[in-house]
Symmetry: D2
Subunit: 138 residues, 4 copies
C-alpha cells in the first residue's frame, strides 16, 4: 500500500450544489467531504458495500466541526483532502480541507469523527483489523 | 373517507432548494411532488413504511414528464396538488401541479407514473386491494 | 413581540432526506436546522429576501459543530429548535436541537454561528439595529 | 472541434445520492443529467458562467421526460450521455441515457429541452451564434 500522506479528491461545483446566494449551499460541502472519505477508503482497498456485506459494519458520522472560510461558486474546481488525525478501535477522526484549485484559496476546513457501527443494530462495532492496519499505515 | 377531489400540500421554498440562478433547482421540484404524493397517501390512511413492513411493497417512480412554466424563488409559499389520473393493478398515474400561493402562478405541471414493487425483489407487484379501493373512492 | 423562550419548527422526514443506510443523510440535518433558523427570523418579523433588498445584508453560516446522537428515519416527525446563545454586532450563535416528536429522542444537537455579510461584497456587516433589538428581546 | 457523436460523462453513486429504498433517489438522476450537459458544453468550449457574464444568457430546463428502467445503487459507476436531438434558435433538446458501466444496464433515459433565457429578465433569448454553430457541428 502506498503511503497516502494526504489523500486528495477533485470536485467540480455544479448548479445542483449552489443556492440563491450564488455560492455553494453550506450543507453541500458535507457531501464533498464524504465523497473524499469514500474515495480515501477505496484507494486503501476498502469498498463500503463489501464492508457492510462481509463484515457487517457501516461507517456513520458521529460528530463534526466545520469552518466556512470563503465561498465556492458555480464551476469552481475544488480539491478535497482526507487525512486521519486520530484512530480508535471503533472511531476515526478525519481532518479535511476544501480548497479552490486555481488559486489555492481555502474554502472550508473540518474535523469529522466517524463511528463504526453494526450494520443491523446500529450499535458501536470494532473497525475490522485489516482496515485498522491499513489506515494506520497510510 | 372524504372525497379528495384535489389533494393539496403546502411547501415553503428555502435556500436548500434554490440554485445560483436565484430560482428553485429543477430537480428539487421532484422532491416537492413526492412530498405531496406521500401526504396524499397519508391522508387516505396509508403510511408507506407500514405498506413496506406489512404488505411487502414499495412505490417507485416509473416515469414522469414535467413542464417548467415559471421559476419559484426563495421564500415562495407554494401549493402542490396530487390527483390520480389513471389507476391500474400495479400502477398509479398522478397529475400534479405546483402553483405560487399569493398570485396563483403556475410554476410547473407534471404527470408521474408510480409502480408498485415487491420491496425485496423490486419486481412489479399488485397494489394492495384496500389501497386500490380507497384511491378509487378518493 | 412575544418572548420566544425556545422557538420550534416541525419537520417531516421524506424519502428525499434519507440514504441507503435507511436513515437521514448526515448533511440533510443541516437543511432542517436552516429551515428552523429561517422560520425563527420570520416569526420575529424578518424576511431574509427583504433584509437583502432593503438592508443589503445576508446571513451566511460561519461555522458549526454538530453531534449526531440517534438516527432519524423515513416518516419521522421531528421538532427542530432555534435559540440564540450569543449575539454580536455581526454574528449570531444558535443552539439547535432536533428531536423525534413521538418519543422525544434527541437526534442531534448543533451550535451554529451565523455571520451577517454585505450582500454584494460578502464582507462582514453589522446586523441591522432593529434585528439586533428584536433578537435580544426574544 | 472534434465530432462528438455521443458525449459521455462518468458519475459515481455516493451515499448522498441514495435513499432509504437502497437506490438512487429519483430526483437525483436529474443532477447527473445536468452534470453531463454542463460537461458537454464545456467540452465544446463553452463555460456557462462566461455565457452569463459575456452573452447575458443562461440555460434553463423547459421540460423533460424521464423513464426509470432499473435502479442504480451505492457505489455504482455510471455513464451519462448527452446528445442534441433537436436544435432551435432558443432551444436545445437533449437525448440522455444513464447506464451502469460494469454490465451496461440501462438505468434511465430522458429527453430534456433546454431554453436559452435572458439572464436578467428570464425571457426567451437567442442562443449565441457561435454556440449554435459548434453544437450543430458536434
Amino acid at each position: 500500500m502506498t503511503n497516502l500522506i494526504e489523500f486528495t479528491w477533485p470536485v467540480r461545483v455544479y448548479y445542483e450544489d449552489t443556492d440563491a446566494g450564488g455560492v455553494v449551499y453550506y450543507a453541500n460541502y458535507l457531501k464533498y467531504l464524504e465523497r473524499a472519505r469514500t474515495e480515501y477508503l477505496r484507494a486503501l482497498g476498502f469498498e463500503q458495500d463489501q464492508l457492510k456485506q462481509k463484515d457487517g459494519i457501516i461507517f456513520a458520522v458521529h460528530s463534526l466541526t466545520i469552518k466556512y472560510r470563503k465561498p465556492a461558486i458555480f464551476n469552481d474546481a475544488l480539491t478535497v483532502t482526507a487525512e486521519v488525525l486520530d484512530q480508535g478501535n471503533a472511531r476515526l477522526t478525519f481532518k479535511q480541507m476544501i480548497t479552490r484549485k486555481n488559486d489555492n484559496t481555502l474554502i472550508c476546513s473540518a474535523d469529522v469523527t466517524i463511528a463504526c457501527l453494526d450494520a443491523i443494530k446500529f450499535t458501536p462495532a470494532r473497525i475490522p483489523a485489516r482496515v485498522q492496519e491499513v489506515v494506520r499505515g497510510s
